[in-house]
């Protein structure tokens, strides 16, 4: 094992190693014989005996220590290998069972069906124990652990959600929940599975995925329409008509996180409520005036409507 830690040295034509500026050559001796020249009667210490004396003893001890550490790791690797082949068997068995349950034996009657459902549940639990996550589908309700976690979470998130204005990043929930737990933390996948189960239960929260991939949880009572109405009010104020609204402006006014605010503005844009303007001043949003412009008479401004308000505000600032 030690041999792989160092790079191979270059060799000269005669097989001697090339030494780099700070290197010196040294080698490990397996045995040393010590002779004392001054005192002819001093006993010669010859290595080859097992007694730990003198320099040879030190060198030997070092070597033995190396070998025992090596050996215990070797044991560990051997045990690891044995464990893994067992794990592999489990995975294959689990696959077979899962295929069988999926292929549905729908030919069986009432009582057998209950047994089927029972074993589907068991199946999920087993897969989870071994470390195979199966996604929550229409038919399956996932492992029992996730079902319990799902209920726990829906209780836990109530207060943080209120404080955050009705919508929170999934990753923030992960940190909050785990910090509160202290030990036996949940994995990111546990969180995702538990939140995905909410749609099967009657809880006041839901998981939502934005186009950008960002995932949030929000109160069911929280509606997009309400947010859009507030955005519309914000964006038709005289200041906003002139210079538009940025994500941070929206965040402050709506009382939500800047990241969330940006998502809302983008969604409002895709609904046709806002228009974006990217300039050296940054990324800003304006109310969408195009619906009010008559394509046949582009310059006419009706006496009512936002276009009218805008043109008045815009000319007032000149």
């Amino acid at each position: 094992m030690a041999g792989n830690c160092l790079e191979a040295a270059e060799l000269t034509g005669s097989g001697r190693p090339v030494l780099l500026p700070t290197e010196i050559e040294c080698s490990l001796l397996s045995a040393v014989d010590l002779e004392c020249e001054d005192l002819p009667n001093f006993p010669n210490l010859k290595s080859g005996t097992v007694r730990m004396v003198g320099v040879s003893g030190i060198l030997r001890k070092e070597q033995e220590m190396w070998e025992t550490t090596d050996k215990s790791l070797q044991d560990a690797f051997q045990d690891l290998n044995a464990l893994m082949s067992k794990a592999r068997e489990m995975v294959m068995l689990a696959e077979k069972m899962r295929q069988k349950l999926l292929s549905g034996s729908t030919s069986q009657s009432g009582a057998a069906e209950d047994e089927e459902l029972g074993s589907k549940q068991e199946m999920q639990d087993w897969l989870l124990s071994v470390g195979i996550i199966s996604p929550v589908t229409k038919e399956s309700a996932g492992a029992q652990y996730h079902q319990q976690l799902s209920r726990q979470l829906s209780d836990f998130v109530r207060i943080p959600l209120e404080r955050a204005g009705g919508m929170m990043n999934l990753i923030d929930i992960y940190c909050l929940f785990n910090r509160a737990r202290g030990t036996e933390l949940i994995s990111p996948e546990d969180l995702l599975q538990a939140c995905s189960l909410w749609e099967k239960f009657d809880v006041p929260v839901m998981l939502r995925k934005f186009d950008s991939g960002v995932m949030v949880i929000q109160n069911k009572s929280h509606s997009d329409e309400e947010i859009f109405a507030r955005i519309k009010i914000l964006v038709t104020k005289p200041d906003a008509l002139r210079t538009g609204v940025s994500a941070s402006d929206a965040a402050i006014t709506l009382g939500i996180a800047p990241g969330m605010a940006k998502e809302h503005l983008l969604t409002a844009e895709s609904k046709g409520l806002l228009c974006r303007d990217i300039s050296p001043d940054g990324f800003r949003f304006y109310i969408n005036l195009f619906p009010e412009i008559d394509p046949n008479n582009v310059y006419s401004v009706k006496d009512y409507g936002v276009y009218d308000t805008w043109s008045r505000v815009a000319s007032a600032s000149e």
Partner: protein
């Protein structure tokens, strides 16, 4: 069974069908029992392993890394769930999930400084500083695994390679090839100029400025106009080799 003609024969055939059906159900039941048994055996084996090597896994990052590699080859994910045997018996779940929480914290704290893109090395250093009092050593491999788990939460957590460095992204910023090339150039001195980009990458001025503007917008680059020669330098905190102690004391 001998085929008998007439009603007797029909009854025998019906009885035979019934028997086959029952046998089929039994086979399914046997399989379930087999599964239960296998699971118990596996758990016992894992318990033995844990008793002997739990400490090796916790103390030795190289062994830990090897363990993970083998698990993924076999097709199991020891970090998939807190409820799995692995987390329960080997106790490695908490280690990684907590690491995840700490990584999110650090990325959040350094975001104003580097725009949501941080050098993996710097991240690991900040982590180690934070965990000074903690028992277990954290390797870069550990960080990478914790981050790959965070990915499923959809916040853009990802590791990208730029040149010979790895950067950890914590915001859903899209970096295209042009941006990556600029980041790579920046690794040498921590900054680049427009002229350098034009010369080394053979781009037009327009293309270079476009890329720089996007990087500025995302907060990944900073402008430095304070030099006597008047040439603007663009600095990239995420690839600079000087690790700053931003947020490390929180």
């Amino acid at each position: 069974m001998r085929r008998r003609p007439g009603i007797g024969g029909l009854q025998t055939a019906a009885a035979a069908r019934d028997q086959y059906r029952l046998l089929g159900e039994n086979v399914a039941k046997i399989r379930t029992d087999l599964m239960k048994e296998q699971l118990t055996t596996f758990r016992t084996q894992l318990e033995d392993f844990a008793r002997k090597h739990k400490n090796d896994i916790r103390k030795n990052p190289a062994f830990r890394s090897q363990f993970h590699d083998m698990c993924s080859k076999v097709g199991v994910d020891p970090l998939a769930s807190n409820k799995g045997f692995w987390a329960e018996l080997l106790g490695i779940g908490d280690f990684y999930y907590e690491l995840g929480v700490q990584i999110v914290d650090i990325c959040l704290a350094t975001r104003p400084h580097n725009g949501g893109l941080i050098n993996l090395q710097e991240l690991c250093n900040l982590l180690r500083q934070r965990r000074k009092s903690d028992r277990e050593a954290v390797s870069e491999d550990d960080c990478l695994r914790a981050i790959s788990k965070l990915k499923v939460l959809g916040n853009g957590f990802e590791v990208i390679s730029v040149g010979k460095r790895k950067l950890v992204r914590s915001v859903p910023t899209e970096l295209n090839k042009d941006h990556n090339e600029i980041l790579e150039l920046a690794q040498a001195q921590g900054f680049v100029t427009v002229a350098e980009v034009e010369r080394r990458l053979s781009w037009t001025t327009g293309r270079a400025i476009d890329a720089f503007d996007t990087l500025l917008d995302e907060g990944l680059a900073m402008i430095d106009d304070g030099h006597r020669d008047g040439i603007r330098r663009y600095w990239f905190p995420c690839v600079s080799s000087i690790s700053t102690a931003v947020g490390a004391d929180t």
